[in-house]
């Protein structure tokens, strides 16, 4: 099938990418844009490792067609640190609290967390859990992830930085 050029805004940068309609966003990000922080854990929307932010909401890029994403703001894990490379408070908090082991769930988990805290800056334990229930982690047992998110919320609140 003939490819067509589409424009995707990823991490505040515009990319012109040749795609066919069947190309999935996760593959376009990983292979055509060439940033591989977004992971493929199951391909069926059950693990959350492929999560990216679409206009601020967490979505599963393995079930999203790239062609449907024109005009939307996509943020991947690579877009979270600031321009000087300083870590986002969520990223820093994950490091400080030991919430990263094999790291494969981490990008998706952090982005889902960002969406959660953007919408609900002071989530209680239940809200945190509900917020990340679609992100599977097999290494950490989740406890340190939940702690890291609570700490990040506090940190963001005191710094008033998003």
């Amino acid at each position: 099938m003939k490819q067509q050029l589409i424009q995707l805004e990823i991490n505040n940068q515009l990319y012109e990418i040749p795609v066919t309609p069947r190309d999935l966003l996760v593959d376009v990000i990983r292979k055509k844009v060439g940033i591989t922080g977004t992971k493929k854990g199951c391909g069926e929307g059950d693990c959350g490792a492929c999560t990216v932010l679409m206009d601020g909401a967490p979505v599963l890029s393995c079930l999203t067609l790239a062609i449907t994403c024109q005009g939307r703001k996509i943020i991947t894990i690579e877009g979270l640190a600031d321009e000087q490379g300083a870590l986002h408070p969520i990223q820093q908090s994950f490091l400080d609290h030991g919430a990263v082991q094999c790291g494969f769930c981490t990008p998706g988990m952090i982005l889902t967390t960002k969406a959660l805290l953007d919408k609900n800056p002071h989530p209680d334990q239940t809200s945190i859990k509900r917020g990340i229930a679609g992100n599977i982690c097999r290494c950490t047992g989740y406890k340190k992830i939940v702690e890291a998110i609570g700490a990040a919320a506090d940190r963001i609140a005191t710094r008033e930085v998003k």
Binding site: R30, G34, I35, T36, G37, T38, K39, K40, G41, C42, G43, E44, D46, C47, A49, T76, I77, E78, L80, A81, L87, Q91, Q92, F94, L95, D96, H97, G98, V100, Q101, C102, G103, F104, C105, T106, P107, I110, K129, R130, I132, A133, G134, N135, I136, C137, R138, C139, T140, G141, Y142, K143, K144, I145, V146
Partner: protein
Amino acid sequence: MEGKKFSQVGRSVTRIDGPAKVKGEAIYTDDMVMARMAHGKIKRSTYAHAFIKNIDYSKALALPGVLAVITGEDAPNKWGIVPQTANEVTLAVDKVRFHGEGVAAVAAIDEETAEEALDLIEVEYEPLPVLLDPFESMKRAGEILIHENEPDNVLHQGEQLFGNPDQAFAGCKYVLEKKFYTSYVNHAFLEPHSSLAHYDPQNGQLQLWSSNQVPHYLHRQLSIVMDMPMNKIRVILPAVGGGFGGKGEASSSDFCAALLSRKTGRPVRVTYDRNEVFVTNKGRHPCHMKMKIGLDQNGYIQAVDFDNTLDGGAYAGWGMVVMFYTTSMIHLPYKVPNARARVRRVYTNKPTCGAMRGLGGVQPRYAMECLLDELAEMMGVSAYELKMKNAVESGYRSVSNLHVPHTEYKKCLQTVVENSGYLEKHGKQPFGKGIGLAGGYYISGTAYTLYLSYKPHTTVLIRVDTEGGVTVHCAAADIGQGCNTVMAQMAAEVLGVNYEDVHVVSGDTELGTFDLGSFASRVTYASGVAIKEAARQINDKLFEVAAGMLSCRAEQLEVRDRRFYSVFEPKKNIEWEKVVDVYTNTVGTLTGIGHFSPPRLKGIDLTRGERVQGANIGHSPTFGFSAQAIEVDVDVETGKVRVTKVTEAGDCGQAVNPMSVEGQVEGSIMFTLGQALYEEMHLDEDGRMMNACLHHYKVPTVMELPEMDTTIVDSYDPTAPFGVKESGEGPVQPTIPAIANAVYDAIGVRFTELPITPEKVLKALKEKQGK
């Protein structure tokens, strides 16, 4: 460096690879790109047991973009993680033995084309009867053989006898025998297997990047399958997204990638889909067990009788080792003076089972801890009292010749009971709420390599120079457990520098020095011994130089906080870098090399002059311990069991990185909670897996997270480097029985089969009501 006054060991430092991972910069095998890279996919059988009559892949080859196709004939050499039982092939030869076994592999210019090509490969099968139950397998071995050279459909069986259990049972006041069944579960690590092979036709060298946890064993297997010498093969681990034992051998993705690369002259990558991870499995062996324990009138264990039929699936894999581990695991953490174990590992037409976190321990532990719980009730004492009574102590030697140099198991039990309020809660809560206690242990490394060899199990090379600072080389595999960080901490400790100063080169069979791999919780202990030796060599040389620079004697010096100090005159001190600089100028790059060989117990027990049974499997330089008290809330109308709180106390010796240890403990508990309550792979009557996806294979989500209170008990093993033991497989052992015991406390039903589903609970409650 004696005692526990550490400066780098014991720090909860941020992981060395943490920043890359939170930024999405860590490179996993599927993230890599190479020029001209092709993509491979494997065609899998749609029969659980069948002869292959014909494979026609001409149409696949004709598809534009397809570069090559291989079948079993292209790699007939058998491989296997346990060489004595190696019966696996890259792709099926002549017959398939499980639904989903690879029969052909395609390399194409992109993944879509490779996938499309699979549909064009025509395979003709002659179906055979399917054996899905180990007992049926054994019974019908006369008519159906899974492996032609295994006439009973049994991989191996063993019998071990220590003392006189029958006589001992006869003298016991309390004897209990029950059957237990543990389920068919998968590791479900987040990163599917992925292998990228680059065969260079010009120099005949093969490089393989793989999501793997045993680079050395993979290296060996590649040599066998590719029919190439090992010194022409290099295995490199990029970041690895979890293993839990499932990546503790080789995968057909590794071999197919390598073979296709050699055939096409291009790099080839094979990455599994999630369903392939399930059907290639190598998960925990379902065990059909019978265990009998006898206590004397004072509650001391006098005998254990254990019978285990392991449902191994289609091939051998780790099977024999797992089988013998189940026999070994009954000898600890309690004193058992008489024991018999009869085990057999049986073939069935199911995806093969292999090594899974805490291998060979989880299954008998379930049986033993539940039996002890019930025996305590029979005796009228608390399970805590019974366990404390029988718990081993430092210096214990089991009848199976396991030597426990150091243990704080009793302290683990005490801590857990105190912190959880077990004695105040057990038997005293309203119907539906309960608390259960269980303990466990695991090895800190094995005594032997899987193939006969006398070489050290781990070698560490440390290089110090003015350009690189400190670099630790060791081909160990960091799969997320954090061993790179721990090695850096241990090296920094001995060298007197900071953790942050140390670089680690790992997971590369060419750049790193020899290491057996990440399994059996061996790396911290093994690398610790090697690091101490290597660092000591470096210190010896640097101390001499520093002494010259400070005008004192080398024996007077110590190194800490990046300075050399004279212990008698602390004002005499000098920066570490300056000393390194002088050494480098006068001699050159400074290296030290250390080796670790576990104590090699002979096949004979010297004290008794008897041959040690069980091939010394289960022996270890030291052991880690864990105790858990788990609280549940059972919805008695729907049968749903909710774990509300887990209290844990573990003996991991000196924790090198306490935060990492906590992460391993918390992870172990949630990992195993899944097996207790939610996880099970289901096969239909044709042997096809019905839930080979994370949709229907229910791993715990964060919503299942209970309150968790874990403690690293104060412990230091004086025989171990830095006092360390293990953590990461010990804490999986108590979880299942603690939950089962808690459910009993809650609703008065003892579950001897996993998983404990709402359906089973409800059924049991109704039966109980009916009585």
